[in-house]
């Protein structure tokens, strides 16, 4: 996922990397280039990956004509097949995962997302931007949960797990949002379907219950064009930072950042705070999305793991 010529320049960008970079280049350096993650982030990601895998199992069965009984059985077995999380919380643990999967299928029993075809389930994608570095193209990439159709039209499907209440404020927070925009672009550019945006299929997971809501998040052609223009600007900045090997701190974002307790220390002692409070889990957007996606393998140079959609 990184350049062969400039090892700190990412050449395959997904929304997670881009969000970290837009938030703060120093956060991006710690999280994406060096692979440091706070414990809670690791749990959120692991929980989300397992939740996706279980519902993907149900999606594939449903797309092939299986009924709810078969979907429930397969998804529950999938959820039960994994060990307890490394650092579970009262909100996110093996029990709340199984509960969320079963309750999702029961909640949406009569209103399941309708995939365009059995082939439109769990789609890894990548496509080249207009930018390159010394002959190496820079790509956008990601994993769609599917492409679905409802009465309004075609949408990319994106499942999310959260502790937040699923109200308008939650859904409004995805406009603007690079993931929604990239997935809408990918639907058009890679899959050649006229997607109107992303159908956000959300699950609120708290200690005593799991709740669900699903809403379309739209993108206009003008918004997509604007994003690509801005992206070119930000990626040129990334090239510059990589060349200088300096990732400046965006101090306006520090108040809500998990790395605050590192960046607030003197530069000379930051490494010891990273080692003490964070763990190494490299994010590799090209790796297949299983519970083993986030392991401690360094993704620098490992870019052939997933086929293009």
């Amino acid at each position: 996922m990184f350049s062969k010529q400039l090892p700190t320049l990412q050449t395959y960008w997904d929304s997670t990397s881009l969000k970290a970079f837009l938030n703060c280049p120093r956060k991006y350096q710690y999280q994406i280039i060096e692979g440091w993650v706070p414990q809670q982030t690791a749990l959120d990601l692991d929980f989300g990956i397992r939740y996706h895998a279980c519902l993907e199992r149900a999606d594939r069965l449903r797309a092939a004509g299986a009924d709810l009984t078969a979907q429930l059985s397969a998804a529950t077995r999938q959820a039960m097949s994994e060990p307890e999380f490394e650092n579970p919380s009262p909100q996110k643990n093996r029990f709340t995962l199984v509960r969320s999967v079963v309750w999702y299928l029961l909640h949406h029993a009569n209103n399941m997302p309708k995939h365009l075809s059995p082939n439109h389930v769990e789609l890894p994608f990548r496509f080249a931007t207009e930018l390159s570095y010394s002959g190496e193209s820079i790509f956008l990439c990601g994993h769609m949960d599917g492409v679905v159709e409802n009465m309004e039209g075609i949408f990319s499907l994106e499942r999310k797990t959260t502790g937040k209440t699923l109200n308008s404020q939650y859904f409004d927070s995805f406009t603007p949002d690079p993931q929604i925009t990239i997935y809408t672009l990918a639907s058009k550019v890679v899959l050649h379907v006229p997607a109107k945006g992303v159908l956000l299929d959300a699950c609120q997971t708290v200690v005593n219950f799991s709740a669900f809501d699903r809403r379309p998040i739209h993108r206009t052609p003008g918004q997509l064009e604007e994003f690509m223009r801005d992206l070119a600007h930000w990626l040129r900045n990334a090239v510059q930072y990589a060349e200088q090997n300096h990732w400046p701190m965006n101090e306006a974002s520090c108040r809500i950042c998990a790395f605050n307790r590192v960046c607030s220390k003197d530069p000379a002692v930051r490494d010891s705070f990273l080692q003490a409070d964070f763990k190494k889990k490299f994010w590799n957007p090209l790796q297949e999305r299983t519970s083993a996606t986030r392991d401690s393998n360094n993704p620098h140079g490992a870019e052939s793991s997933t086929p293009t959609a």
């Binding site: 529950t76 039960m80 994994e82 093996r94 029990f95 199984v98 079963v102 029961l106 005593n208 219950f209």
Partner: protein, 88 residues
């Protein structure tokens, strides 16, 4: 059925080695979770209905204003204040 009761019921199944879980046991888990969900849905509806029936401040008067009015009523009903008002 609360989630804590559910997790107690399922403790044995959750502690079992995943690949040894039978189809029957899988359905026991689904059944217990379905019952828990039904219970939670009922609790949610009951809480919503209770919310509708609960007394609400009159239109256009906030709770703070209602409290102030109530305090003023007490003041005007005070015998000393009443006599003063009558003198005035």
């Amino acid at each position: 059925m609360s989630s804590s009761e559910t997790s107690v019921d399922l403790t044995e199944l959750f502690s079992k080695q995943p690949d040894l879980l039978t189809e029957e046991e899988t359905w026991k888990i689904i059944s217990v979770l379905r019952t828990a969900r039904d219970g939670w849905e009922l609790e949610k509806v009951a809480a919503q209905q209770k919310g509708k029936r609960s007394p609400r401040p009159s239109a256009g008067i906030s709770a703070k204003t209602a409290l102030k009015n109530s305090a003023l009523d007490d003041l005007f009903n005070d015998p000393e204040i009443k006599s003063l008002m009558e003198e005035l």
